[in-house]
């Protein structure tokens, strides 16, 4: 069977995943603020209400608690809701329904009720969104047992992972790095913007396909050190590696929980050095868990401590966005330190 692909940016790929799934599975319902007629503030659901009908793709009141709470009830009925939270920064009012309800339902009812729901939400900074349109709260969800956390870094993965997330029988938080919705981002914010079309990840099959959750992708092989990262930072890391010529292995985790520990371990044991890169604030970010795991499991292979390259422990500032962002300078310095030790 020939697979028909099409150049897509991240938003188009997500839209395509949702469209395919709405077509295949009558149980799928999309709900969220402004996602209906308008198609979402980032256009991820554009055209879907018109095509699949108002009872399958609809606007909600501005209540993240209600959105996720209603979705839990829909899931209990037997549907597969895919709620959108307009910005990850606004997920907190719905957090109780997510962590105390969605994440616990299968466990507390011993499988009587399940919650196959995928919460989509744009996250991350780099768009001058200030502190309430830039947050990366992913690590909070990795601490909550019963939820999977998925973060794609390119259109191909976004579609395949989103389909797998929707088909998963457990709740998934699917964070979409909004900085790269329309093009990959090298982190060199003063250079011209690249479109997705020049990136291999923009060749996206029009039809259904899945990328298994819990599998990382090695986006660049290397010997000098291992970089563990995800989302926007994958592109920044690759760009810095190209720029510096340091022979780093770059691993795009794609799923934070459950983590692809095998790929991580094998790489770090090979290179003996490990760096973790994320945009979220440092303290108790997911980098902490990664550093802890790597030193637990690869201790005798490590030539240097695991380095964390992260956002600072401050809110995401508006005008000093690039000073906050873990960009090329921060990454380069950390790489140099790591290989010198």
């Amino acid at each position: 069977m020939t697979v028909v692909t099409q150049k897509m940016n991240m938003i188009e790929a997500i839209n395509s995943a949702l469209d395919n799934m709405l077509t295949r599975d009558p149980d799928i319902v999309l709900l969220g603020e402004d996602i209906g007629f308008f198609g979402g503030v980032f256009r991820a659901t554009a055209g879907l209400q018109k095509k699949h009908g108002k009872t399958r793709v609809f606007d909600t009141p501005i209540s993240e608690c209600g959105i996720i709470g209603a979705a839990v009830g829909m899931a209990a009925y037997g549907l597969r809701p895919v709620p959108e939270i307009q910005f990850a920064d606004y997920i907190y009012p719905g957090l109780d329904q997510l962590v105390s309800e969605a994440a616990r339902l299968r466990y507390r009812s011993a499988n009587d009720f399940i919650c196959p729901m995928t919460v989509r939400s744009p996250f991350g900074g780099g768009i001058f969104g200030g502190q309430t349109h830039s947050q990366s709260p992913e690590s909070l969800f990795t601490h909550v047992c019963g939820i999977k956390t998925v973060i794609p870094s390119n259109p191909y993965d976004a579609k395949g992972l989103l389909i797998a997330a929707i088909e998963d029988n457990d709740p998934v938080v699917f964070f979409e790095p909004k900085r790269i919705y329309n093009g990959p981002f090298s982190g060199f914010y003063d250079r011209p913007v690249e479109p997705w079309s020049k990136h291999a990840g923009s060749d996206v099959p029009q039809d259904y396909y899945r990328i298994e959750l819990g599998k990382a992708a090695t986006v660049r092989e290397g010997e000098a050190l291992t970089i563990l990262t995800y989302g926007t930072m994958v592109h920044v890391c690759v760009a810095v590696v190209m720029e510096t010529g340091i022979d780093a292995e770059v691993i795009d985790l794609r799923t934070l929980l459950p983590l692809d520990i095998e790929t991580v371990e094998a790489s770090v044991k090979k290179t003996g050095r490990c760096m973790v890169v994320h945009e979220a604030t440092r303290t108790s970010g997911f980098g902490a868990e990664l550093a802890a795991l790597v030193q637990e499991r690869c201790f005798y292979h490590l030539e240097a401590p695991v380095e964390r390259v992260t956002g600072f422990d401050t809110p995401y500032p508006h005008s000093l966005e690039w000073a906050y962002f873990p960009g090329p300078v921060r990454i380069t310095r950390a790489m140099q330190k790591l290989i010198q030790e």
Binding site: A70, A76, L79, F113, D170
Partner: protein, 427 residues
């Protein structure tokens, strides 16, 4: 801009305080009990704006002498009335026994619904058996009415090896999908938006099943309550949202939840939802209100909000001592009586019941509960060994065990071996 006048009175913060505290003699003579049919039963399809007064009245059917009268009288057959009575009596007998089991150290926790039995038994009888219920923790009467095996309830309470929830949940946090009874959460009011979502799903599928949820008057303050009401109103959802106003939320009287200023039923008016205020200790009124609401929902006339005005006769739970914060014997003074007593009185009045039958039935139900308790205890009680296998702790976190949980299963088994010796075997 206006200049603040300097001769203004100082502002005052009002902190609500119940009328009676320990040592006081409770006196409920100020509770207004309207005449039966002061507001006659409107059509189920009525516009919410046309029936706002129902939120400020009190729907009643049984008068003080046990007569069923007025337009809300559901006209149930004697058999149904007796069934209702026995379901309420069984609920009470069950509560008494399980409360005692907790006091005997057989489990960690229990919660009674004494005095509030009508709000779960009569409502469950007015719903279809496949309408989905999203209860709080005080609606054991639904399960009993729907014929859920008592022994399964007890196994759950004991967290024993037969507990189908694998000993994971606090006692009374039942889950019974086959009886259209949603898994109970410890977090207050979370079931409210879930019930709305379930009904939205049902409606979007052109199904005919509706949903109903319950919470206490104290829980109405949670944001989930508001989300649920908003979603129910916006999507004209076939859901029945109920508040059991039993006057107390642990130690806080209903004024702390906003009860001083208006009725809880009035909350529904703000959303344009049909809202009823019902004598929660009058089983026939409760039944009638739920039937009205269910018929309304089934015919695409949208959600109904119901307040049951009742009284929490006992402590909040086994962890609570109500004598520390409220007047003794308040329940005896409650002007709306006891739902069991009132239905019994009615049945006797219409010649379909007698004191003797009542006593005999009470004894029979107590026996049934005792017998069932023995059966359940054969499966173990909390902390006495007959629990679920250790590794069951990791099941159902996810559908499939991820690697890190697999490692933790290994670990817990090794630990148990280290603890109980090499001959130890996972049970």
């Amino acid at each position: 801009m206006v200049k603040t006048k300097t001769n203004l009175p100082p502002l005052r913060l009002h902190i609500p305080e119940p009328k009676f505290r320990p040592g006081d003699e409770a006196d409920f003579s100020d509770v207004v009990v309207p005449e039966i049919d002061e507001i006659a039963r409107p059509d189920e399809g009525s516009a919410p704006a046309a029936i706002q007064n129902l939120a400020f009245g009190l729907i009643r059917v049984l008068d003080n002498n046990g007569n069923a009268t007025g337009s809300w009288n559901p006209g149930l057959e004697p058999d149904q009335l007796r069934l209702m009575l026995s379901n309420m009596m069984l609920t009470r007998a069950f509560d008494d026994r399980m409360f005692r089991a907790q006091r005997q150290g057989k489990t960690s926790f229990y919660m009674k619904c004494t005095g509030e039995e009508a709000t779960s038994v009569a409502t469950a009888m007015a719903l279809a058996s496949d309408d989905m219920c999203f209860p709080s923790y005080r609606q054991q009467g639904i399960l009993i009415t729907r014929g859920y095996p008592l022994v399964k309830m007890m196994n759950q309470i004991y967290s024993n090896r037969a507990d189908h929830l694998k000993g994971r949940q606090l006692p009374i946090m039942y889950s019974a999908p086959d009886h259209s009874f949603f898994s109970i959460s410890g977090n207050l009011a979370t079931q409210y938006p879930q019930a709305v979502g379930w009904a939205m799903a049902s409606a979007s599928r052109g199904d005919t099943r509706i949903s109903a949820c319950w919470c206490g008057e104290g829980s109405t303050a949670e944001g989930d309550f508001h989300s649920a009401m908003t979603f129910a109103a916006v999507y004209n959802t076939p859901v029945i949202l109920q508040v059991v106003n039993n006057q107390w939320a642990i130690s806080s009287f209903s004024g702390i939840a906003g009860g001083e200023r208006t009725t809880f039923a009035a909350r529904g008016l703000g959303y344009g939802i049909a809202s009823l205020r019902v004598d929660g200790n009058d089983p026939l009124a409760v039944y009638a209100a739920m039937r009205w609401a269910a018929d309304r929902a089934r015919t695409n006339n949208g959600p109904t909000f119901i307040e049951y005005f009742t009284y929490r006769a006992e402590g909040h739970s086994t962890s609570d001592d109500p004598e520390a914060y409220r007047a003794a014997k308040e329940f005896e003074k409650w002007p709306l009586g006891d739902p069991v007593g009132r239905l019994k009185q009615h049945l006797i009045r219409i010649g379909e019941w007698s004191e003797e039958q009542h006593d005999a039935q009470a004894a029979e139900l107590t026996d049934l509960v005792k017998k069932t308790q023995k059966e359940a205890e054969a499966n173990g009680i909390l902390g006495h060994g007959l629990h679920q296998p250790f590794e069951s702790m990791f099941d159902d976190v996810f559908e499939h065990l991820p690697w890190h949980l697999k490692e933790q299963v290994e670990q817990v088994l090794e630990e148990q071996e280290a603890k109980f010796g090499p001959d130890w075997e996972p049970r």
